[in-house]
Symmetry: C3
């Protein structure tokens, strides 16, 4: 049987939350930046709930892997090191490269260099693309690259949430192939662990502008991102605002408007902004509600 | 086994349709309006098909509950009264409020006050948010708040359609938890009852402009709203037009354009408009076709 | 059991690929064009993999049927001939017509005339609408009508991809009703056959502008169209660009942007463009990754 909400929440309280804060970039000096990373693949155990450990395969020890962050024009140099027991690889949606060499699968003990220049703003998925890809993604091999649009205005809080599904195998095992083929996950999560931001809320203050960068890595189902008690006055999705500071970008809609959800199919991303008016606890959720109840849920705690 | 299309259609003929018409607002006098409602929760029986009654939990006796309708700046005062046998609550996406107090669960016999000002235009979901929320939504506790964009032009016909899924338990029982967890509904509906607008068509005349406000309350699956034989010359979704009277809002697309669907993930809403050119029967459907065949289907009857 | 990726790929190598190229329209002479077609429905066998043949029902012998192509203002005259063994019909989303007569089901040996004028640009689905419609669509009765926006700029390569799901019955049988009701396909495809463009890649040259018109005919699931190693600098979806040549259409986003996916619910369509920077093999995929692995996958081979 799938873990219950109570079991998942109890387990989340026993673990440190994955950091969701996106630090501000240093001010631009007008030149592009070179970013250098080593991504080491390891295969580990993740105690989803007591008695139900899953194999989790990671870049640098966490799932999601590191959030990369830069500006249009920046170049990223990644050394991928396979310290696991099987073939792995990486595919960055953030770059335009012929896949043949940089995305090739490398065997344990091997490494490769992957360089890309970020020509376009967005929150871009990265993931292992070794077959079967659903398996490598569902086992934790994914993350986000945030490339800020030029001149993106500063906000008071900036968070990154990566939505994903878990298809549990037997205790200790990797993701279940039959559940993946049926697209029926047991658990859903923001940043890899169900209910972790219920156990350890994200924070803001009344009147602050809060930006959520959200990426749905799937591998399969939809993410209808909603913040209870709030409305998005700004929505940016795959390259375009539909609403900006309460004004529609269509040139036609009059008056103040907004959105209740950021709708994201698998591999899609964007950001939303809100300004909480009152102190309190604002749950954020995948409003594909069964997935919210399976763990794609957290809390933004707002204080005066 | 799930009810058949024939059984559902026969049952729809035996019941009165849920009203879909959205009356025009009185002309604005330039001031905001105070709206006052009492929402009484009751738990009832709904004969889906003969021999297959479901428990339906409602606001004011119907599922969907009342459609609220106003303008940006209006304030809504709702007194929620729990006349049921278990805890219930309400969450209005239409307002920005700290959830802690107004969205709290109240026990049978209790009541609460929920006040919100509608700062942003849209068709906003409301629903019971008592856990497990999928259960309370699937059992019927949802509805729509329509906040018109400023200066929204009058149309000849205005309808509201709320799309939802039914996960039938045993005869007389509430929604089935396992089917909800698997996201496999037996029935789908516009305004709570499968095929009711096949049994009792909506109407329009040739050359009239017809607006459909559509909200997908899920709880889980997608709604691809389509009107057979027609094309949408106007599409407004979560705060923005993509097409308005046949002209793209992108500033680039030349010539007349339009859309075949309004795509809505769970908890998303918008409106579309069409102008039928000929008399006849125009089916409207969730083009996620299995859901259309499970009941998310109706007819717009157009006469000269 | 569902066919494996290896079996599907081997079968794709044994068959000719469905043509994906969209030939350029002849230059416009400023007048609208009359297009005349006969669509003959036949029921055939399709060897999905050895030992697993499916019934496929087609317009003019292929699934998808013919891609119609024209401009806003063109008129299409289709003679539908039922050369099958059961009732069939056709519904063109590309036209605005009262459904009653042109979309009616005709019996074997009968024919009907269906005329529509394409008033709006887009990639519009057509399909058999005889009940149960999921069955007729899943058995192959679908295709696309491409109506170019006025002044659409020429590109170097133009392809049409129609995404669909296959719900296999027993060897030799038509689509399985229970799998359709559960929305659990065995196979997914671009242009009707899994992995056919892995077996027979589409082609382009470095620096060419490549346009993909993409239509999701479902009947049920989402299509997150992505080209590995590439980014879309142009996205047009149901009547509107969100990004055009790397510039957002919102009037606000500064700098170069783009998109990683074209998200399409069932019955939705649009086009994307990319310009490959390097020679290599660029897979295109439904990033609803289980469907990609079930066959909604191909390769764009780029040479210097
Ligand atoms: Cu891997
Ligand atoms: Cu909600
Ligand atoms: Cu309730
Ligand atoms: Cu259709
Ligand atoms: Cu047919
Ligand atoms: Cu990818
Ligand atoms: Na720099
Ligand atoms: Na807000
Ligand atoms: Na007033
Ligand atoms: Na129209
Ligand atoms: Na002509
Ligand atoms: Na590109
Ligand atoms: Zn460099
Ligand atoms: Zn600002
Ligand atoms: Zn909650
Ligand atoms: Zn008041
Ligand atoms: Zn008008
Ligand atoms: Zn119908
Ligand atoms: Zn003609
Ligand atoms: Zn150009
Ligand atoms: Zn591949």
């Amino acid at each position: 049987a799938a873990p219950t909400m109570a079991e998942l929440l109890a387990a989340a309280k026993e673990t440190d939350p994955h950091p969701a804060e996106l630090p501000a970039l240093p001010p631009s000096d007008g030149t592009s930046t070179e970013h250098r990373y080593t991504f080491t693949v390891t295969e580990q155990d993740d105690p989803v709930v007591p008695g139900r450990t899953r194999a989790v395969w990671t870049y640098n020890g966490t799932s999601p892997g590191p959030t990369l962050h830069g500006r249009v024009g920046d170049t990223f140099h990644i050394t991928l090191v396979n310290a696991g027991t099987m073939g792995h690889s990486i595919d960055f949606h953030a770059g335009e490269v012929a896949p043949d060499e940089p995305m090739r699968t490398i065997e344990p003990g091997e490494s490769l260099e992957y360089t890309f220049t970020a020509h376009r703003s967005g929150i871009w998925m990265y993931h292992c693309s070794t077959m079967p890809m659903t398996h490598h993604i569902a086992n934790g091999m994914f993350g986000a690259v945030v490339i800020e649009p030029d001149g993106l205005e500063p906000v008071d809080r900036s968070y990154v949430l990566v939505g994903s599904e878990l298809y549990l195998g037997a205790d200790g095992a990797a993701a279940d192939h039959a559940k993946l083929a049926a697209m029926q996950p047991d658990v859903a999560a923001f940043n890899g662990r169900a209910f972790q931001y219920d156990a350890h809320p994200l924070t803001a203050r009344v009147g602050e502008r809060v930006r959520f960068w959200v990426l749905n890595v799937g591998p399969n189902l939809g993410l209808s991102f909603h913040v209870v008690g709030s409305q998005f006055d700004t929505v940016w999705r795959e390259g375009a605002y539909s609403v900006f500071h309460g004004t529609s970008t269509d040139g036609i809609t009059q008056g103040t408007t907004g959105a209740q959800v950021l709708p994201l199919i698998a591999a899609e991303g964007g950001f939303v902004e809100l300004v909480p008016r009152e102190a309190g606890h604002y749950p954020f959720v995948n409003h594909v509600m069964t997935l919210g109840e399976k763990g794609a849920h957290g809390v933004l705690e707002v204080t005066d």
